[in-house]
Symmetry: C2
Subunit: 197 residues, 2 copies
Amino acid sequence: MYGPSIDRLITALRVMPGIGAKSAQRIALQLLERNRDGAAELAASLIDAVDKVGNCSSCRTLCEGERCTICSDSRRSAQQLCIVETPADLFAIEQAGGYSGHYFVLMGHLSPIDGIGPEEIGLPILEAKLASGEVDELILATNLTVEGETTAHYISSRARAAGVAVSRIAHGVPLGGELEYIDSNTLSLAMQSRKVI
Amino acid sequence: MYGPSIDRLITALRVMPGIGAKSAQRIALQLLERNRDGAAELAASLIDAVDKVGNCSSCRTLCEGERCTICSDSRRSAQQLCIVETPADLFAIEQAGGYSGHYFVLMGHLSPIDGIGPEEIGLPILEAKLASGEVDELILATNLTVEGETTAHYISSRARAAGVAVSRIAHGVPLGGELEYIDSNTLSLAMQSRKVI
């Protein structure tokens, strides 16, 4: 409708999550009207990132180079291994601070209906790590969704078979959460998971 | 935080209107995790569009080539000239159908506080068009905002000085609008602008 190059750009912009037809059109026109330098820099940085960013050979997170900064950091302990679904989850835990072990990033979760089995989420690599004997504790930090729970359950059974201790991060009422405004599923989970003090 | 290439991509993504820090991070990670072909195509189409898309020499809208398809269409009348603020406004009127004249795209509106005067919105080109005598009627379709109204007022005074008839698109209750849900400014405008039937 706007000519071949603009139409192609509008279509290409829709690969981004959360960007629909109207937003893509608005972004394309605004970049071309007002910020061509920004558009050129965006193109260059996309090419650069696609070219340079790969996966860490040890933990599978997105990184530039063979191993990520966490896996290459000799001050961090390889005895603790925290399992997360995505690089964003890894960085959320890093930002919270306090954890000084290694990570393993699944890049997804088990979902047989979408054809995602143990191979696709890198479990053979994880099992090799567990068999090597360097891991003492596996901390499961997958999401509290049906798929995340299934994945956690599957991994914990494999870890126990390999003789590695397994834990799951705590779920319940968040800090500063007022009971009045917490959803009832979280609240009933918090009641069930109550701890003796 | 994620390494230089990913950080650069996250920063570059923020040139897009409506994309903040969190969305940029989510988009960058998701493209790199799941859709590298889409990211490469986005980069290529940005470069292509920045390279090929310019402004129509006659109406200033975004187009590929010297003159846009509307200005080059001999079936359209150059006697009517519709003034809009942006290419998106032009395409909205085209999609509505029924108008077969030419357009003039201001690429903004008068806004002295931002340093946008008559020069910046192409009024010298418009005045040359009006002076040439080929335009019979000027239709003002700028937005109904303070800046849009000011721009419309300024242009209408210049058009009258050049002896060209000026009209403004109608404003009031939209089709299918229920009075109960229309904002009171629109409603009071619709009352003031009532027509004898």
